[in-house]
Symmetry: C2
Subunit: 111 residues, 2 copies
DNA sequence: TGATTATATAACCAATTGGTTTTCATTTGT
DNA sequence: ACAAATGAAAACCAATTGGTTATATAATCA
């Protein structure tokens, strides 16, 4: 996998388990045990997902006694958002289809 | 990799080569040879990237004689955008930190 | 101190990814 | 018909992913 920031973020989001973890953490910080509960997989598997999210900067770890509660840091999503938003015009006005049509017209004229 | 739609989209975006391909196609449809030119990798490698983008619905293939020009379809990005936008409040107002604080207050009251 | 709880690490494994080179298929031009 | 050009497919490979179980570490409790 590419290790630039944006790739790490998109890659972290490319898994339903990880997106569900983010949704849970949106309600507030939570210890690992509680994060893992809803998932049909071992805790180590969930910890691996958390590490992916941490590497993308989306999750942070705290230390409360013997627990290491995780919390959401949505900041990196701003970057993802601004990348995606570059393309908004292309889907909003079906500009892509219009563009393809215009290209065809133009190609026709050139021949 | 997970094969739900959103995962396919985010996963397709999680690579700089693929994002560059989308940027190129935003300027208009383009045959494979031209798409591949700027990249320091073989054409089959680029075709593989194109297949990933197609599977996510972001790229479509046409047929113009012996060429198969690809074009951008940004529609799936609308879905990615709306997922990310769910979290906008969390990064815009540092709401996550405020929320964590409120959670703690509330937890204190309940005990 | 010793047991329990919460989390992390290690070692392992099958499947996927992202690249390669080689070969094949299709369309065009002579 | 044949050569050239464009694109796709196949076979291969190393590294990564996403899971497992077993073991280790750290903090709390009795």
């Amino acid at each position: 996998m590419a290790s630039d920031k944006l790739s790490l973020i998109f890659s972290a989001l490319a898994d339903p388990t990880r997106r569900a973890i983010l949704a849970a953490l949106a309600l507030g910080p939570m210890p690992v045990g509680e994060i893992a509960k809803p998932f049909d997989m071992s805790e180590p598997a969930v910890i691996k997902h958390l590490k992916v999210l941490e590497r993308a900067g989306l999750v942070e770890t705290d230390r409360k006694g013997q627990m290491r509660p995780r919390s959401l840091n949505a900041q990196p999503l701003a970057e993802a958002s601004s990348w995606v938003e570059q393309y908004r015009q292309f889907w909003e006005t079906s500009f892509d289809q219009l563009d393809a049509y215009l290209e065809e017209l133009q190609a026709g004229e050139q021949e």
